[in-house]
Amino acid sequence: MVTRFNDPFEALFALQRSLDARLGSEWADSGTGGAGAYPPINIFERGDDFVAVMELPGVDKNDLQLQAKESTIRISGRKAIDYDRGASIHRRERISGSFDRTLTLPIGIDPDRIRAEYRDGVLALFIPRAEREKPRTIKIT
């Protein structure tokens, strides 16, 4: 669990350690098309629900498509980079192109109630767990 710290660097370090601990986890491995596909995805649990986060810097919201069916979410789009034609290039590290990635969660979700937020080049998908998957409290009689 990511907890609150008073010192921002301490908080960031704690977050980095908690992410490192789950690096290479196999939780969704069979369903993501594997690590190395664009965009890289982080998946979190919050209460009963899930949050999937992706970094897509430079991708315009209008060039981003999301589709969901059953437990599978498809993220596709393109990243365009326009250069000034008359300019001389000193350094060129950014890359452009298209992407298409599917993510299948190993658990039932409610595809109709997924909420997406895109801000500062980061896409967050708020994915509710399917009602039938939620744990039930069993009354002892």
Binding site: M1, L19, W27, E93, R94
Partner: protein, 132 residues
């Protein structure tokens, strides 16, 4: 119809440290493009997750330094399940020449990408020399 190249994941590069900080939180180098025209030098940096208020751009002794801080508060209460990348603040410095008019540097942020335009000083702009 031209086919678009498929995007590849770029591994984040960590900032090489000159001085060590007391808490070893990782910082990353923003992926950067730099190009130059007669009028200006343009620096484009990718800093996903960094908002407008969390960026510092400064020039000191002809060194341009860009720092972007991520809002780790958005991760509060989230339990990591499956992780492919780590997050951290961004830091990068460039030596710039005196040709730049440092008082006229402008910055714009869109979709996690910052564009810095560094206009050249009047005297540094190339001039066409008329041949009589």
């Amino acid at each position: 119809m031209a086919t678009q190249p498929e995007l590849q994941v770029q591994q984040k590069r960590e900032v090489g440290t000159k001085q060590e900080s007391t808490i070893p939180a990782r910082r990353y180098l923003p992926v950067t493009d730099i190009f130059e025209t007669d009028q200006a030098l343009t620096v484009i940096l990718e800093m996903p997750g960094v908002s407008r208020d969390s960026i510092t751009v400064k020039t000191e002794n002809d060194v341009l330094t860009i720092e972007g801080r991520v809002d780790y508060g958005t991760y509060e209460g989230l339990q990591p399940l499956y992780i492919e990348y780590n997050v951290g603040d961004y830091l990068r410095s460039f030596q710039i020449s005196r040709e730049i008019d440092q008082s006229k540097i402008s910055a714009e942020l869109k979709d996690g990408v910052m564009t810095l335009v560094l206009p050249k000083a009047e005297k540094a702009k190339p001039r066409k020399i008329p041949v009589n």
